[in-house]
């Protein structure tokens, strides 16, 4: 085998790039292998019709202001030797959880949500304070404590089931790989990252963050190898010795860090059949992106993100009998952030996300696929405008991605956005020098993925 690396990283998403920076900074010979022609993974970007689009990013969660010493954001900036200004994060204006007849507004100041709960659920104020302190107490990364049922815990804390559903809605939408219920560990992480820390966005979108990560990785001597898909991880006596690429070339490595996903990595190690496995995640989405000829605020939409659900029960599962389930969704406007000096994006943008069924989308013939995209663009917009103002008469451009798109560019089974339901917190595999990081290790979101890459690199590849 030619070319020996200290560490080979599979996947140039947030976690792989972050791990790469750590290892290259400490003088390892590091290669990042990415099958796609560009970087980003689940948080990528593209350009179409002269416009820039983000794929994953609605908001960077875990936002803490400049100077904060605690929290994942400051930790990752320190670990990667970035300045706070590098990510140019602008905080959100205000977001909203919208259920029939009840709206709970929240912002990056938890007091707004507290006052909203006092207004709408006066008898649940003490319970919410109790929940908050239980979330703050949680710091156990042991697998058993992580996997406690969140619905069970919340059922013991709150007496009003509607508030439980409303609190679960945004937290599940932004990071729950399980169907219906949520791991308590994941809930605590999401509660902190969204309600106690908050939403922010760089004006230039996710490409700004990725650009900084790649630039740093390369400046430290790291090698980013695009269009280098890994077909197989080669092992001898329980240890990986290298990889075989899609084109048959072989690369040698002392250890391998894979952000390809748990099942996907198992497949590279020859452990899973090509088709059919229950371990992969099921939750995937369609997203419509509408470009407007005005700012969304002109139409009466000044919320940053609206999480809506059209009944008192929030049903978090992929639809069984249809392409999408439009009972719940997320409306995000990247315009509605507090950008520095009151700057604003040139175009208005509204993104609407709905839960989708991967098998049904990927099973469509090409002509049907194109038609269904148009059909579901309209349907998901119809669903959303029950909770936000009508915007379509101001549309000057539209685009849309589906579970099929996500799978095609990320190679994650089922186009699963939040990975497998069972997280691998310790990052280990059956091969002693192969580790997983990223979504399937346990952390989601941009900050979470970066922290995952850093911590697995620190734990196994540096010492």
């Amino acid at each position: 085998m030619a070319e020996a690396y200290d560490t080979l990283i599979i996947g140039a998403g947030m976690s792989g790039l972050a791990a790469g920076i750590r290892l290259a900074y400490y003088d390892q010979r590091v290669g990042i292998l990415e099958r796609h022609k560009t970087i980003g993974g689940l948080n990528s970007f593209y350009r179409a019709g002269g416009r820039d689009y983000d794929v994953g990013l609605h908001a960077v969660t875990n936002f803490t202001p400049k100077g904060a010493k605690k929290g994942p954001l400051s930790r990752l900036l320190r670990q990667l030797r970035f300045q706070w200004e590098d990510f140019a994060l602008a905080p959100q204006q205000q977001s909203r959880i919208a259920f029939p007849g009840v709206n709970l507004a929240f912002s990056n100041d938890i007091r707004l949500l507290e006052s909203e709960i006092a207004r709408c659920f006066p008898h649940q104020v003490a319970a919410f304070a109790n929940l908050r302190s239980q979330v703050l107490d949680y710091d156990d990364l042991d697998q058993a404590a992580f996997e406690i049922s969140t619905r069970k815990v919340l059922g013991q804390i709150f007496s009003d089931p509607l508030l439980i559903e409303m609190l679960l809605c945004p937290l599940m939408w932004y990071g729950n790989a399980r169907v219906h219920d949520m791991d308590w560990g994941q809930f605590c992480i999401m509660f902190r990252s969204i309600f106690l820390e908050g939403f922010a966005r760089p004006m230039r979108g996710v490409r700004l963050i990725l650009k900084h990560l790649v630039k740093k990785f390369r400046s430290l001597g790291g090698q980013l190898l695009l269009r280098h898909g890994v077909k197989q991880i080669v092992s001898e006596h329980g240890r990986a010795v290298g990889v075989i690429l899609d084109d048959g070339r072989e690369i040698q490595a002392k250890r391998i860090l894979s952000s390809a996903g748990w099942v996907e990595t198992q497949r590279m190690m020859g452990e899973v059949d090509e088709v059919g496995n229950d371990a992969a995640g099921q939750l995937t989405f369609i997203e419509t992106i509408t470009t407007l000829n005005c700012q969304p605020a002109k139409l009466g939409l000044s919320d940053t993100i609206v999480f809506y659900n059209d009944s008192d029960r929030f049903d978090w599962r992929p639809p069984q009998h249809d392409l999408c389930d439009l009972r719940t969704g997320v409306v995000c406007s990247p315009n509605n952030y507090l950008y520095e000096d009151n700057e604003q994006l040139q175009d208005g943008v509204i993104r609407i996300t709905s839960i989708a069924n991967f098998d049904r989308w990927s099973g469509l013939a090409e002509a049907d696929y194109r038609r269904e995209k148009l059909v579901w663009y309209d349907r998901s917009s119809d669903s959303a405008v029950r909770f936000v103002p009508e915007f379509r008469h101001h549309a000057i451009d539209t685009d849309m991605f589906t579970p099929k798109t996500i799978q095609r560019f990320t190679w994650h089974d089922n186009g699963a956005v939040y990975g497998a339901p069972q997280k691998r917190l310790d990052g280990r595999t059956q091969l002693e020098n192969v580790y997983v990081c990223g979504t399937d290790q346990g952390f989601v979101g941009i900050v979470g993925a970066i922290i995952s890459g850093i911590s697995i690199a620190n734990q196994y590849c540096l010492k």
Binding site: K69, K70, R75, R78, Q79, S455
Partner: protein
């Protein structure tokens, strides 16, 4: 390297790891953890920076020696006596 020089090196490393911390008022006898917002990832970086900059190897079970500035300097003095600043 003399103990005072080792102390300077550690201050320099801390400044890189935690640029927002005020290191001027550091009390050498008190644990870093009690004065600075350092977590285990930051402690790993002290070890890694010493390895990167001066090729000093610190085994994992001796990381505890790096608790305070005084204990760090005491621990590193014999290890770094031959190292040039």
């Amino acid at each position: 390297m003399a103990p005072e020089e080792i102390r300077e090196v550690i201050i320099e490393i801390l400044g890189d790891i935690a640029p927002d911390e005020d290191l001027g008022s550091l009390d050498d006898a008190v644990a870093f953890r009690e004065q600075l917002e350092l977590d285990s990832m930051d402690f790993l970086d002290i070890v890694m920076e010493l390895r990167k900059r001066y090729r000093v190897q610190i085994p994992e079970d001796e990381y505890v020696q790096l608790a305070s500035m005084r204990s760090t300097v005491d621990y590193l003095t014999p290890k770094m006596s031959e190292v040039a600043k």
